[in-house]
Symmetry: C2
Subunit: 164 residues, 2 copies
């Protein structure tokens, strides 16, 4: 099995960002994910589809994991890396455990809703039947900028500096 390098993760985050941008254009929260196999090849990817499909589980990570399992013909995504633009929520972290991925790579941290930021480190809970590695903050600037731009537009809030 090949060992992926940090540059592979950065490249894959660029791919995930394309899915995030596409989701934003459909008025979904611009979060994107892709799954790469042990050779660094993209298996599949997706943006958020929660609002457009009315699916409470329509997060980019869940859709990507399900689609990839379908493509590979196995729900066990062993050796694979999930790359996502935002720190995953509890549901998505659980789905990664269930699908037995090797590594999670995420972009921006989510202090309010991110599983790790809230202290739920179950990716390394040895009582569970699978553990996986986590790398956070890859392309942090680009991934968080996309989200903050989206929410600023949604709120109609523009911060103009007043001339002195």
């Amino acid at each position: 099995m090949n060992q992926l390098k940090f540059s592979d993760y950065e490249w894959a985050m660029g791919e995930a960002l394309k899915f995030a941008e596409a989701a934003g254009r459909k008025d979904e929260v611009p979060i994107g994910a892709c799954l790469i196999d042990s050779q660094g090849k993209v298996v599949s990817g997706s943006g958020n589809e929660k609002e457009s499909v009315n699916d409470p589980c329509g997060h980019a990570e869940i859709i990507t994991l399900r689609k990839s399992a379908e493509i590979l013909g196995d729900w066990r995504l062993e050796g694979c890396t999930l790359v996502v633009t935002l720190e995953p929520c509890l549901m998505c972290m659980g789905a990664m455990w269930q699908s037995r991925i090797k590594t999670l790579v995420f972009g921006a941290y989510d202090p309010k809703g991110g599983a790790l930021s809230l202290g739920y480190d179950f990716h390394k809970d040895k009582r569970l039947n699978h553990t996986f590695d986590v790398i956070g903050g890859v392309k942090h600037y680009e991934t968080s900028r996309l989200l903050s731009q989206f929410f600023r537009q949604k709120r109609g809030q523009y911060n103009f500096k007043k001339p002195n």
Copy 2:
């Protein structure tokens, strides 16, 4: 909004058990779930489909939540109760939080993989944007017997008492 009674939960667990039995006949782990609305009416239900569909997220709870959201035309399942025959895993507990259910009712406890049994009580974590109630052990005997029978058959292990 009507207040459901314990007898409503027991009746709904009977419905979830039918989905569990149907899953077992398809050689899936016999776990079943159904979602009931605030009037106690079943919106939808499902058994496990992880193996047959090759879906890492193919747990009875996730399928039921997604199907119900589709039927109701809204991913917010506010006021609804998810009834499931086994204590949910971390992924499914996360999905219940995401879909904003009112109450989780489960049957058998799962000391090895159940989110609550492992100490992850995020259904009552007030830092999150939604919390929900949990009632465990409803029809505990029937729900756990169905699972232990299935695994005993799978292992080909039958405990015969030797005659003295």
